[in-house]
């Protein structure tokens, strides 16, 4: 009888096997008679260590372990969009049908529906030579997303047979190709890909196109490019999740992959509810038509939480290779880092900072480096933008996850507790945040919105910095003693904060603001500032200007002027001019 591999030790989600040479590193395995999914994470001549992605209660020494001979894979094919998976791509809706409202273990369900027929159009003919990554067929996946079937990157060759256009299931062969060595490969509607390896591309492109989010503080102050990386750090209650939701709803990517990594179950059900009700203004279809959800809530097994980030990234890269712009929201990368720490602790590895393993920075950099705008193997252009939330312990940005994330992301949207306390949302602090993409994107903004966009933005920034310096004085002696021109800076900065930076996600118009309106809002603010400054220079007291109520108008212009009526800004500025002319005439 062939010797079976059996469990030796169990400690939480970590299982060991003794004296075996069967397994290779990162191989996917099934543990126990319930066939719980696991992955090999350590091998020496005595012990093979496996992390199990499901609850290990009830496992016994002597229970069998089955190898699969392949690393942890996900299944790629039509049916991913508008679906919700757990951290290892198990479809939660299908699991609900088989095991009810609570997730039982060892649920063996195919990631994608194998019985559904897809309306496939073949794009190649016999005799064509196909390279890895090229498109051989397409089918409509949702009303707005066309699924493009790609030759697996490691395969190339000549097409020997082709099926007719028509309806096929996931595992039906539609094209057969023969490679140089004469081996035939059947191409179906799906393929496998190991989650921890990046999918290849032809070459990377520079970060010169912004990802438009409709959020003023991001688009104007700290923009992100398509294929860029951003971190959103913030203590609890500062609005990380809200910001992620806003970006997922409104950013101009083609496809959104939302990874709820170790977060709240109720939040995921909120996303499900909201996204199916929300209509995408660009396509007129529900948001779910362009969204993939990965939900590994905080009470689901910790090892699967570690994998969920990679699963999400692999799905995102697959759609990138079809030529789509994909944005992936990871909420929260700190939970992922903590999962690493937890597993590392179980393995009794030597801890580095705050108990996190020494390989935390390298894992983080590997993750963020999978973002990028690329020329795909299929000849198109696609991108993966990564936006990761970070939950620093005790809201302390000096902790290891935040600090290392800062090194590998180029946008840092720092959420601030005191802003959140005052319900200033999004609570992205304008002094602590930065975007390194601004210079890369500069030509794009100049081309599409003119030189003044950049000029306005720079002036707004410097006014905010000036205000912060003045506030140091105000905190000590009060604002009454300041000269009028400095008081004006404080007043205009307040208008910028309340009227421009603060944005109301629940207001029909204000939740998404086009760049054109963002520019005009800045213009109106600076218009009032310049005019008032001239009046103050003529020795008219600022209190006279304040009485006019123009600053309140600025604070409310986001509500008063609909997105569709930019011409109303001219009226607003004309009104300012009239009111201000009144007091200069008096003097």
């Amino acid at each position: 009888m062939a010797e079976k591999d059996v469990i030796y030790g169990i400690n939480g989600p970590v299982v060991t096997i003794r004296d075996t040479r069967t397994f290779s590193m990162m191989e996917m395995v099934y543990v126990g008679d319930a066939r719980l999914v696991g992955e090999v994470i350590g091998i020496n001549d005595q012990l093979t260590t496996i992390q199990v992605y499901e609850e290990t209660t009830g496992l016994k020494p002597g229970d069998p372990v089955f190898g699969t001979g392949a690393p942890m894979n996900v299944l790629l094919g039509p049916g991913i969009i508008d679906n919700i998976f757990d951290g290892i791509e198990r479809p939660l809706k299908a699991i609900e049908e088989t095991s009810g409202s609570f997730i039982s273990r060892g649920a063996a369900v195919s990631a994608l529906d194998t019985e559904k027929y897809w309306d496939v159009t073949i794009k190649v003919k016999a005799g064509d030579v196909l390279e890895g990554g090229q498109i051989y067929a397409v089918c409509p996946e949702t009303a707005i997303i066309e699924h493009r079937f790609l030759v697996p990157p490691q395969i190339s060759g000549k097409v020997v047979s082709v099926k007719k256009n028509g309806k096929y299931r996931l595992h039906d062969t539609i094209v057969t190709i023969k490679d140089d060595s004469g081996e035939e490969h059947a191409l179906t509607l799906c393929q496998q890909w190991p989650i921890r390896s990046a999918r290849p591309c032809k070459n990377r492109l520079p970060a010169t196109v912004p990802l438009i989010t409709g959020q003023r503080v991001i688009d104007t102050m700290f923009p992100i490019s398509k294929g860029g990386t951003a971190a959103i750090p913030g203590g609890f209650g500062t609005g990380k999740t809200m910001t992620q939701h806003q970006l997922a709803k409104w950013c101009d990517a083609d496809i959104i992959v939302y990874v709820g990594c170790g977060e709240r179950g109720n939040e995921m059900s909120q996303v499900l509810d909201e996204f199916s009700e929300l209509i995408d203004p660009k396509s007129g279809r529900p948001m779910t038509d362009r969204t993939v959800l990965i939900a590994n809530t905080s009470n689901m097994p910790v090892a699967a939480r570690e994998a969920s980030i990679y699963t999400g990234l692999t799905l995102a890269e697959y759609y990138r290779d079809m030529g789509y712009h994909v944005a992936i929201m990871a909420d929260s990368t700190s939970r992922w880092a903590e999962a690493l720490r937890e597993i590392s602790g179980r393995l009794e590895e030597m801890p580095a900072e705050e108990g996190f393993p020494a390989y935390l920075p390298s894992r983080l950099s590997e993750f963020y480096e999978r973002a990028g705008r690329v020329d795909t193997l299929s000849g198109g252009e696609g991108s993966v933008t990564i936006i990761g939330a970070v939950s620093p312990q005790g809201s302390d940005f000096s902790e290891p996850v935040t600090q290392n994330t800062k090194r590998f992301t180029r946008c840092f949207w720092a959420l601030d507790k005191s802003l959140a306390y005052a319900r200033h949302y999004p609570a992205i602090h304008w002094l602590n945040s930065y975007s390194e993409y601004f210079t890369d994107l500069d030509p794009w903004f100049r081309e599409h919105f003119g030189d003044e966009f950049i000029r306005y933005r720079n002036r707004i920034t410097s006014l905010l910095h000036e205000e912060s310096a003045l506030m140091e004085i105000v905190k000590l002696i009060g604002s009454d003693v300041l000269p009028d021109d400095q008081k004006l800076v404080i007043e205009i900065a307040k208008a910028i904060r309340v009227g421009f930076l603060q944005q109301n996600a629940f207001h029909a118009d204000d939740t998404f603001v086009p760049l054109e309106k963002q520019k005009l809002m800045m213009k109106a603010i600076l218009h009032l500032y310049d005019k008032s400054k001239r009046i103050i220079a003529a020795a008219i007291p600022i209190s006279r200007i304040m009485e006019l109520g123009l600053f309140e108008k600025l604070a409310k212009m986001k509500y008063d002027i609909p997105n569709s009526k930019p011409e109303m800004f001219d009226e607003l500025m004309a009104e300012m001019d009239r009111a201000l002319a009144g007091i200069s005439a008096d003097a």
């Binding site: 169990i10 209660t57 020494p61 009810g100 909120q270 009470n299 108990g355 604070a555």
Partner: protein, 478 residues
């Protein structure tokens, strides 16, 4: 064949190590019979071949290397459930301690539970009216939510919890199907007794299930207490279709028990010595709140935790805040000023509030009013810190108005009687009245239509005595 394993190989804190054990499964229960006839209970927490580590719930006192016989029970930790558990009192490990005998089992359930499928969750939307102005207006409690109270030693968190239990009304009025599960972890006997008496006085005792692990009870049992309580709550909610409010106090004691257990297992400690998996462990408790499709019931959690040294960045409140859907933070300065409940408004939050209030739930002006109250009260803090430097006299007129607003807000909005039950309309109107003491131009979070409707321009309606008059009657009640 039932095997007894004689003796133990090693004793370490609350853990014993057995050798030569065959067929043990992970997290299996064991009975440990001592030579003096007493029986203790334990659970397998680690297996390495035939070497098995067992945690003993009642502690290892008087266990020696060879005075025990250990028997494997071939099942994980289970709780006996039936609708009859209502009104009963159990110890931290789920055994009845009220002298009324065993519960006749309708069902047995693993206390660890299984994760709820996110797809099966119903997003919570119905608000619970607690009759407390600060909570109802600014951090509304929603059915199916987990909303902890962050407190400190000596503050009135227990009173607040009791008041919530007594006054909580579900907006759509299905009052008959509610239940309370109370889990005490490492609390003083007086505290447990206070809760029991309060439940009795308000006539809900027959609807309460109590799990008591007092300060002098074994710590291993303490790590099971919330799991037993939540298993009971899930049973009542999802199989008996009840609306269950779970009060768990004190989560800090629970986390400390976990730390003690972890260090005796020799695990690598994380922050402040707590185990690296504290987040996952707390999440496995807190995430058991919610509602599911196909069931009318709900589990709402109000965990109470005392922040050591009132430090909100301590790992327990910190990790809790990342898991729960908001928090109610109590403040010692307010408590010191004699205000009850001493809710510190600015750091408090309810994440589910936005979808459970407003038109159709409370009142259309609720959200903007709450935003404005938060923003204005945040401004009060700026004025106060300025006043502490330059003196109140030197403040600008607007800042003086804010100082006045802050005082009135704390005295009449935050402060309220222990027996005072305010309707949501009363609370909202009081909020508008307070805002009206500020210049209208300062209210930049609400639109003009709302201001036209609610802003009070008549100064006579805003005098100090008009606010004081508002609470005079209630003070007599106390």
């Amino acid at each position: 064949m039932i095997l007894d394993y004689v003796g133990v190989k090693e004793i370490n804190g609350s853990l014993i190590v057995l050798d030569g054990v065959k067929g043990a499964s992970f997290e299996e229960m064991v009975d440990i019979r001592l030579d003096n006839g007493s029986v203790r209970h334990g659970r397998i927490v680690q297996i390495e071949g035939e070497r098995v580590v067992v945690q003993v719930f009642e502690g290892t006192k008087s266990i020696s290397l060879d005075n025990t016989r250990t028997r494997l029970k071939a099942r994980p930790m289970e709780l006996t459930l039936s609708p009859e558990i209502m009104g009963r009192i159990f110890n931290g490990a789920g055994a009845p301690v009220d002298g009324l005998g065993e519960v006749y089992p309708v069902k047995r359930a693993n206390v660890n539970g299984t994760p709820m499928n996110p797809v099966s969750r119903v997003y919570p939307r119905n608000y619970i009216n607690t009759g407390i102005s600060t909570i109802d207006t600014l951090m509304t409690l929603i059915r199916g939510q987990k909303l902890p109270i962050f407190s400190g030693s000596g503050m009135k968190h227990n009173e607040l919890a009791v008041q919530i239990v007594r006054q909580a009304k579900i907006a759509d009025g299905e009052d008959n199907k509610f239940g309370i599960v109370f889990a005490a972890m490492g609390v003083k006997n007086d505290v447990a007794d206070y809760f029991r008496r309060s439940f009795d006085e308000s006539g809900v005792l027959s609807r309460v299930v109590m799990f008591l692990n007092l300060a002098n009870d074994p710590i291993i049992e303490r790590t099971l207490t919330p799991r037993c309580a939540l298993t009971a709550a899930e049973y009542l909610a999802f199989e008996c279709n009840m609306h269950v409010l779970v009060i768990m106090t004190d989560m800090t004691s629970y986390a400390e028990a976990l730390r003690e257990f972890s260090s005796s297992k020799g695990e690598i400690p994380g922050r402040k010595g707590f185990p690296g998996y504290l987040y996952s462990d707390l999440a496995s408790l807190y995430e058991r709140a919610g509602m599911i499709k196909g069931s009318k019931g709900s589990v709402t959690q109000i965990p109470i935790l005392t922040m050591p040294n009132d430090d909100i960045t301590h790992p327990v409140p910190d990790l809790t805040g990342y898991i729960t859907e908001g928090q109610i933070v109590l403040d010692r300065a307010l408590e010191g000023a004699g205000y009850y409940p001493p809710v510190s408004v600015l750091p408090s939050l309810s994440r589910l509030m936005k979808d459970g209030i407003g038109k159709g739930y409370t009142r259309a002006d609720h959200q903007p009013l709450a935003n404005q109250l938060f923003a204005s009260y945040a401004r009060v803090q700026d004025a106060r810190s300025l006043a502490s430097v330059i003196g109140e006299e030197e403040l600008s007129p607007v800042d003086k108005r804010y100082m006045q607003f802050g005082k009135l807000f704390e005295q009449f909005f935050v402060n309220q009687g222990f027996n005072e039950n305010r309707t949501i309309e009363q609370s909202l109107d009081l909020g508008w009245k307070l805002l009206s003491t500020l210049p209208r131009t300062e209210l930049d979070r609400v639109d003009d239509a709302l201001l036209d409707e609610f802003y009070i321009t008549n100064p006579d309606a805003l005098t100090f005595s008009s606010f004081a008059g508002h609470t005079d009657d209630e003070e007599e009640e106390e």
